[in-house]
Structures are given as structure tokens and as C-alpha cells.
């Protein structure tokens, strides 16, 4: 009878191959957010449009809303911007922008040129708020519920598929 030991290398290889196969469906560069189902970190910073005014996430309590991290220097942001403008027109949920490490004039000019879907934009000039939210690339979008808990993070631009299949259903669920 063949020794069972001789099958061990084959078994080990098959296990590894199975994992490699699953790995092909994953994106190793994507860093999931540790904030899912946790309260959105608190902050209070100036607004982009109205330098005298301030914004804090607590202001949005009781509403389901999106926090969208954007910048005028960000090329991918342009890809998702029309989607956000459309969402704002249809008044799905309030969208608050977080202008990340930008120059005030540049940010305002960008919105002027491409449209402003935001209820308002908060001005994160040095990226501190971004760090507190675990932002590592632009754009990123957070879906936050009525109690101020982060329920979903979109890494990279919002694609139509992500919008239809994940974000809108989630928003509907949270509104209910």
C-alpha cells in the first residue's frame, strides 16, 4: 500500500492553489476601512465656501448623508463628479464635500467649473481630518447613517455599478 505521507505535498499544493485562485478575485491594494459600523470621527473645521462658517459631522445627525473626499488636483474625482451632481439634482441624500489638501481658490474654481453637488464643502487644508478618517487616496466616499455611524466606504471614484448595487440600496435601508 502506498504510504499516505507521499500525498502530503500534493495536498499542500492543492490547498495553496485554491487560495491563489481565490486571490485572483481580490484586490491586494485595497485597504478596507476600520470605521465600518463605527461612529464617524468628530471634527470641526471651516467651510470652503464660507470661511467664517464651520462644519461638524454632528450637524448632520438625524439624516443619512454622504461625505465625499475630493480635491481640484485629483484627476479621478472628475470621473465621479457627474454622478454626484446627478445625485444632488435628484435630492437623494445630502452630500457634504471634504476638500482635501487643496487651495481654497482652486477648490472653489473647480466647483464653479464642474458644478457643486455639495450641501457644503468642509475645508481640510492640512489633511488632518483625512487622516482621522483613514483616507489614503482621493476620491473616497463615506455613507453615514442618522446616528452618525459610518456604514460604508467607497474607495476610489463612485462607479455606476457601485452606486446602483451598493450605495443606493444601502441608503434606502438606512432611511427606513
Amino acid at each position: 500500500m502506498r504510504s499516505l505521507k507521499l500525498v502530503i505535498p500534493l495536498a499542500a499544493f492543492l490547498a495553496i492553489a485554491a487560495f491563489l485562485a481565490i486571490g485572483l478575485t481580490r484586490d491586494p491594494r485595497e485597504v478596507p476601512s476600520p470605521f465600518i459600523d463605527k461612529p464617524a470621527p468628530s471634527f470641526r473645521i471651516a467651510q470652503l465656501g464660507n470661511a467664517a462658517g464651520a462644519f461638524s459631522p454632528e450637524d448632520m445627525r438625524g439624516k443619512v448623508w454622504l461625505l465625499n473626499v475630493w480635491a481640484s488636483w485629483c484627476v479621478s474625482c472628475r470621473a465621479e463628479h457627474p454622478l454626484l451632481v446627478e445625485m444632488a439634482k435628484r435630492k437623494v441624500v445630502p452630500i457634504v464635500g471634504l476638500n482635501y489638501k487643496d487651495k481654497r481658490e482652486d477648490g472653489l474654481a473647480w466647483l464653479g467649473k464642474l458644478g457643486d453637488p455639495y450641501a457644503l464643502s468642509a475645508y481640510d487644508v492640512d489633511g488632518r481630518v483625512g487622516i482621522d478618517y483613514g483616507v489614503y487616496g482621493v476620491p473616497e466616499t463615506f455613507v453615514i447613517d442618522k446616528q452618525g455611524v459610518i456604514r460604508y466606504k467607497q474607495i476610489g471614484p463612485i462607479t455606476p455599478e457601485a452606486l446602483e448595487q451598493t450605495i443606493l440600496p444601502l441608503i434606502r435601508k438606512l432611511e427606513a
Binding site: V31, P34, K101, D132, G134
Partner: protein, 156 residues
């Protein structure tokens, strides 16, 4: 040309994008602690570099952030926790010991133990093959040993 190069160059550090410049802390001990910590943290942007080595704006920001925290008296563990709270375990190059990483840290020991067992088993069987020889006189044994040592090394 020189102006263009200089402008490009200036753009890196005092960036047009609201990027703060990196300023070393005057206290060398702070810089040393920063170096040790940053060398075990992964840059989220250039994911193949440590935060110590990366030139990505985020890495720069995080280095400044760590400097501030060290100067404010936070411990290394607290600073690491700060990073993990925001970016998850992914940011640590030294994987923390959790339920999910027990196999990772115990794995090498387990492999070594298996290796040791295999070694012992093979040795036992091999000794049975080599045993049962009549004892030889020392001189003869030494000569045989010397011959065995060079056996096969020289070809006719």
C-alpha cells in the same frame, strides 16, 4: 530650463497643493523614535515602502503627525494604536498577534516541530541500519574514518 527645474523642484516640498514641508524635530531622540516607528509602518499609497522611506504626501503627513505625538509624550504603543485605529492592521509591517494571526506566528514553530519529528524518525531508522557493527579498534576506526571522509571526493 533651470527655472523650470527649480520650479518643479520647489513644487515638491512647498507644494501648490497645501502640502506641508517636512521639518525634522530639533531633538535627535524624537527623530530616532520616529525612524524606528516609521520603519515598521506601511505606506498606504506606495504600498511597498515604509512610511520612513516613502515620499508620498500622506507619508510625509503621517511622519509629521508621529513627530507631534512623540513630542506630546505618547508612547510607541499608543502611536501604533493611533495608526491602526485609522488604517487597520494593514498599516503594521509587524503583524499583531490576534486570533487571525496566531497561525502566522505559531506556524514557524509548528513547522520546526514537524521538522524535528521527521528528523528524529529518520535518524532512528537510520541508526538501526548502521548499528550492529562489531566494535573496532581505535586506530583502525580512525583510519577508516579518514578514508570515509575522502571517499567519493576523488575520481579515478
Amino acid at each position: 530650463m533651470r527655472l523650470v527645474l527649480a520650479a518643479l523642484a520647489l513644487g515638491w516640498s512647498i507644494a501648490a497643493f497645501g502640502q506641508a514641508a517636512e521639518v525634522a524635530h530639533p531633538d535627535a531622540r524624537v527623530e530616532e523614535r520616529l525612524r524606528v516607528l516609521a520603519e515598521e509602518l506601511r505606506c498606504l499609497v506606495c504600498q511597498n515602502q515604509t512610511i520612513a522611506d516613502s515620499n508620498a504626501p500622506l507619508a510625509l503627513d503621517l511622519r509629521n503627525q508621529i513627530r507631534q505625538q512623540i513630542a506630546a509624550g505618547r508612547s510607541d504603543a499608543q502611536i501604533r494604536e493611533y495608526m491602526v485605529d485609522r488604517y487597520g492592521d494593514f498599516v503594521l509591517y509587524r503583524p499583531p498577534l490576534r486570533a487571525t494571526t496566531v497561525l502566522l506566528w505559531a506556524g514557524p514553530f509548528i513547522l520546526f516541530a514537524i521538522g524535528a519529528i521527521v528528523f528524529a524518525r529518520v535518524m532512528r531508522r537510520a541508526s538501526e541500519g548502521a548499528g550492529g557493527e562489531a566494535p573496532r579498534k581505535d586506530a583502525e576506526r580512525a583510519r577508516i574514518a579518514a578514508l570515509l571522509e575522502t571517499e567519493g571526493d576523488e575520481r579515478r
